[in-house]
Symmetry: C2
Subunit: 324 residues, 2 copies
Amino acid sequence: MNHTNDQILELFEAELRQMCTPEEPELLYTPIIYSMSGGGKRLRPVLLLLAAEAFGGSAADAMPAAMAVEVFHNFTLLHDDIMDNAAVRRGKPSVFAKWGGNVAILSGDAMLISAYKYLACLGGDKLSRVIGIFNEMALEVCEGQQYDMDFEQAEKVSVVDYILMIERKTSALLSGSATIGATLAGASDDDIKKIYRFATELGLAFQLQDDMLDSYGDEALGKKIGGDILEGKQTYLMVQAISRATDQQREVLRTTHQRTDLSDAEKIACVKAIYDELDVKHATEQQIELRFERALSVLDSLSIASERTLHLREFARNLMGRKK
Amino acid sequence: MNHTNDQILELFEAELRQMCTPEEPELLYTPIIYSMSGGGKRLRPVLLLLAAEAFGGSAADAMPAAMAVEVFHNFTLLHDDIMDNAAVRRGKPSVFAKWGGNVAILSGDAMLISAYKYLACLGGDKLSRVIGIFNEMALEVCEGQQYDMDFEQAEKVSVVDYILMIERKTSALLSGSATIGATLAGASDDDIKKIYRFATELGLAFQLQDDMLDSYGDEALGKKIGGDILEGKQTYLMVQAISRATDQQREVLRTTHQRTDLSDAEKIACVKAIYDELDVKHATEQQIELRFERALSVLDSLSIASERTLHLREFARNLMGRKK
């Protein structure tokens, strides 16, 4: 019997508690422990292990790879927080804020190397089957981060380019994780391609939903509204709005976050008014549904019995905060 | 017939010219090409390939690993230049100075991943034999950099701790490279341990000589004297001097670089006067000779015919700028 999402998470957290690093140099290794024990949903290792079990592999065999993707993910957070000048991560000071940029750079480097150390624990044959997937995934994440930074300076970002960016920045690590899990379990090439597609579409749905909640989330649920708008960030709503806007609306969309004569609430209201005029909420919802449905229908097309995909479906629903 | 140092360098440079990266995102990949084509002595890949050939391996087979160590080395330079706030690298603007810290962080990350991509090109069996060596080497280099930064703030650094630091920061990449080359060529465990020792001792001799030339180099040969002294850096001469100094001398050694009432030339003269009083030049020369001799005598003890070690000896002499 395959493990449920909760059981897999528990297995992974138990493994994580075994993680140890050298004690010295303290400023290299303490931030790694701080970062890895800072919580987070462990989405990528859970997906990797669920994919492995779906195709008949064992979670124990795939565990080093699960550790590798989680350590890699946390490495990206350390470096992203420097680049984004982010002081807070998961409700605590970021490594960057707590120890400074140099420590965040070097500890991050050591984490990236540690990710490969975990991967190497898979041993010969398994290692050589997945290291290529891991490398491509890792480079795509870097590319996504670079495109994201490029877009901050860009005059106009097309909807297509925006999707290509989040495919790298958000989806690549999910699709890479799922693919590694399936590969370790000996899935067929066709199934591997499909599980990759599943996680890619799911990652897109997840990121688009995240974008939407920034403007249309429920403040009653503790979601702070409008952060992306105030930072002038590109989101799916913004690039959709820009693509549909009149010259006058476009000017407002581009400049509002920099205005000094408006309060934050006024800036948010101003941008959201145009979003409403251009109906981008609806367009985003449609895109989320499309991507989510595509992800689930890919699961239907796998060669394995459909009950083997139940926990992956549960993962997808959990990720999107859905009951069914 | 094994290749000479010059021939190996030529083979490696030819391989390097084949290196290609994606064109986009430009700000991710252009700095990689800039960094890799910026010259440098290619010490680590040359040593790796020489070690492979010494033990009967082929340079062609080991070439992906040689690329991996050179890309890794250049990755460390990108990140070190951010941490050290260094504007110039090999006579040109550093990536950090040319494109800024964020680009240097992210392109550096992509280089570290690319190093593993080259390593993965070795293929299954060879990959699994060397990835562990590569990982340990890479972590030691990070540890060395952290200790080096720690020492900048330290009240007192012992001679032993200083040696342990440069064993990581300078020697580890040389000893890792030599070990990888020998391992790929199928050297015995005993020979692998010895070639590791050879490169470790050679790396120490090289770094200590570099430290000494900062104070006692020949300005006629274009060597700028006293850079380390003006930056207040820990060097072998400084930690030796501190360990031998009277309280009064120690105070001068520690504070001179910060004095605003002295010219640079006066600061250098002031510190060097104490070095002379304490005879640290002689102590350093002795240590260099000791390490260099140890390195060469390890080569004598290898199980292979002594003529197979000729090019490694040539490498050692070249590194130290010696004719014989």
